[in-house]
């Protein structure tokens, strides 16, 4: 399948080109160039305020860049935003849904907005995949954080997106919830070939889930490579945490 408009880069499902977002005099994202291949689980690392969420907001077409652009699933985020959104799933940090409605009603609403003609069938399949059938008729307000997260993932994958964007998905989850989420992401990637772009702080999760990583610092990409290559390159370091700190510190010294 062709994803990039540029034939030489067709293997990249996410192709970010000099993407910038400026607030006043400050760059939240500064000339970001990034490529993510189809089928990867990409971990986007960075300190608080590094620009990870701003990047995801731009790639999901929620936010207009100041300059530059990107192609997601072969479509321009600026000129073909609706086409991009048809092909992506999105799970924001601290997922919120309509509290007064049941899980099913929430999912039905998002399914219809995603253009799914038979929502019931898709919802039941997704709830089954996530082992969340028992939440079907429960109001969102009655669900725990972990349960909500699962319904949040359900809404993000209902329409079988090519790329799933997750913003700090483990935020606020207990260890059991984190493990469940990890298993789900790995299954989605393995069974459906879904590309996953994940903003995260949890380095331990990155080692268990991601195939490639990018490190963002003060709006600039300071490292991007496969996890294996990254660990090889910094073979003196004992853990990804050490690698991450070395990369970050190296950048600061520049």
């Amino acid at each position: 399948m062709k994803y990039s408009k540029n034939p030489s880069e067709k293997q990249f499902i996410i192709d970010v080109r000099s993407l910038s977002k400026k607030y006043g005099d400050n760059f939240a994202v500064d000339g970001l160039n990034l490529k993510v291949a189809e089928g990867e689980i990409f971990g986007f690392l960075g300190h608080n305020g590094a620009g990870k969420t701003t990047t995801v907001n731009m790639l999901t077409t929620l936010l207009q860049p100041t300059s530059g652009g990107a192609f997601v699933a072969g479509f321009d985020i600026l000129k073909e935003s609706v086409e991009v959104r048809k092909r992506i799933g999105y799970l924001p940090e601290n997922i919120q849904l309509y509290d007064s409605m049941t899980s099913y009603e929430n999912l039905e609403y998002f399914a219809k907005l995603s253009g799914i003609s038979k929502p019931e069938e898709s919802i039941l399949q997704v709830l089954d995949f996530l082992d969340a059938e028992s939440y079907r008729d429960k109001k969102i307000s009655a669900l725990s954080k972990g349960m909500r997260q699962r319904i949040g993932i359900a809404q993000a994958i209902l329409h079988e997106p090519k790329v799933l964007f997750l913003d700090e998905p483990t935020s606020g989850l207990d260890p059991f919830g984190v493990k469940q989420l990890r298993d789900t992401l790995l299954r989605l990637n393995k069974e459906q070939g879904m590309t996953i772009f994940m903003n995260t702080h949890l380095l331990s999760e990155v080692t268990k889930t991601c195939s490639t990583i990018g490190v963002l610092s003060h709006g600039k990409l300071i490292h991007s490579d496969s996890l294996v290559n990254t660990m090889k390159r910094f073979n003196d370091e004992s853990s990804l945490e050490q690698v991450y700190l070395t990369i970050e510190e190296g950048h600061y010294e520049k």
Binding site: N57, T61, L62, I95, L113
Partner: protein
């Protein structure tokens, strides 16, 4: 358009789960139920007073003049509804628009919603359609209640029924202006309280302040809240104030047009009232103003913020 209909349907479903909306709706329905009886009762009392006075005159050998209320229109018994629409209906409309604008913000799903393949136009149309249909349902319910209760008290003919539904249709247009205003401020104002307060200030200005500077200047203004009955406004300063403020006094234009639709007419000594068509046009412009505010709000708000 398909997405707009999905959003509108969701809006209607959600609105009828809102406690504030249900509470205001209950009050509005109760007042609608009461209005026909109150109107009939006051008219009945006036007729009884006239009959007693006429009887006294006849007993004292004098000729009683014919009743000035004999040809009172049937729908005059609904004249209290004009005030209820302005007071409770206005608040209900603001509450409806505000809830529609605030729903995604409060739920924290605005980003999620706009990550789906919908445009701001879909969102705007869906919300406006949802608000309009919710208010149309409220108005239809009130119209049905008024028609049934009036039919019990007086004999309504086909023309009366047409006028009754025209009155409620006109009231719907008037209320949409408030609803759209409530929706607009809910989208653009960061502070939820301020977002609600601003349309309520508009409502207070339109409902109380402007009429105080116009029709309330007439000595009989408080006796008949729907149409001024005298033209004895002779103070030039008051006259100037009236003439300056009156074109902007939306609730008065509504009151005058609504009263005319219900068949009530100013008496021969009435102060000059603008033509019905011009008044109705102003109410339509008021609704369009709210619509324009909604468009501006939707296109200016940042969907990545909430």
């Amino acid at each position: 358009m398909k997405n707009s209909i999905i959003i509108a349907r969701h809006e209607i479903q959600s609105m009828f789960r809102e406690r504030t909306f249900i509470l205001l709706l209950a009050v509005f329905v109760a007042m609608t139920l009461a209005s026909a009886y109150i109107g009939w009762s006051s008219q009945h009392t006036i007729n009884q007073v006239y009959t007693a006075a006429a009887e006294q005159l006849r007993q004292s050998g004098k000729v009683a003049p014919s009743s000035p209320f004999a040809d009172y229109p049937h729908l005059a018994l609904l004249k209290n509804m004009i005030i209820y629409v302005i007071l409770i209906g206005g608040l209900l409309a603001i509450s409806t628009g505000y809830a529609a604008g605030m729903r995604e913000r409060k739920a924290g799903v605005l980003k999620l919603l706009f990550s789906r393949p919908i445009s701001k136009e879909d969102f705007l149309l869906g919300k406006l359609l949802g608000i309009s249909l919710v208010l149309a349902a409220v108005i239809l319910l009130a119209a049905a209640i008024s028609a049934i209760s009036s039919a019990f008290l007086v004999s309504l003919n086909a023309q009366d029924v047409i006028h009754l539904f025209s009155f409620y249709g006109f009231s719907w247009v008037y209320l949409l202006g408030f609803a759209f205003l409530g929706f607009s401020f809910a989208l653009v104002k960061d502070d939820e309280v301020v977002a609600l307060l601003i349309p309520i200030i508009f409502w207070i200005m339109i409902t109380f302040v402007l009429p105080e500077l116009t029709s309330a200047l007439y000595p009989t203004g408080s006796l008949n809240p729907t149409l001024p009955q005298t033209d004895i406004l002779q103070n030039p300063a008051l006259q100037t104030m009236h003439d300056t403020v009156y074109p902007f006094s939306i609730s008065e234009h509504y009151k005058e047009s609504a009263a005319t639709i219900l068949g009530m007419k100013a008496t021969g000594t009435a102060a000059p009232v603008q033509s019905g068509i011009l008044n109705a046009f102003k109410i339509f412009c008021w609704m369009l103003l709210g619509l324009a505010a909604s468009f501006a709000a939707v296109y200016s708000f940042d969907k990545s913020r909430w």
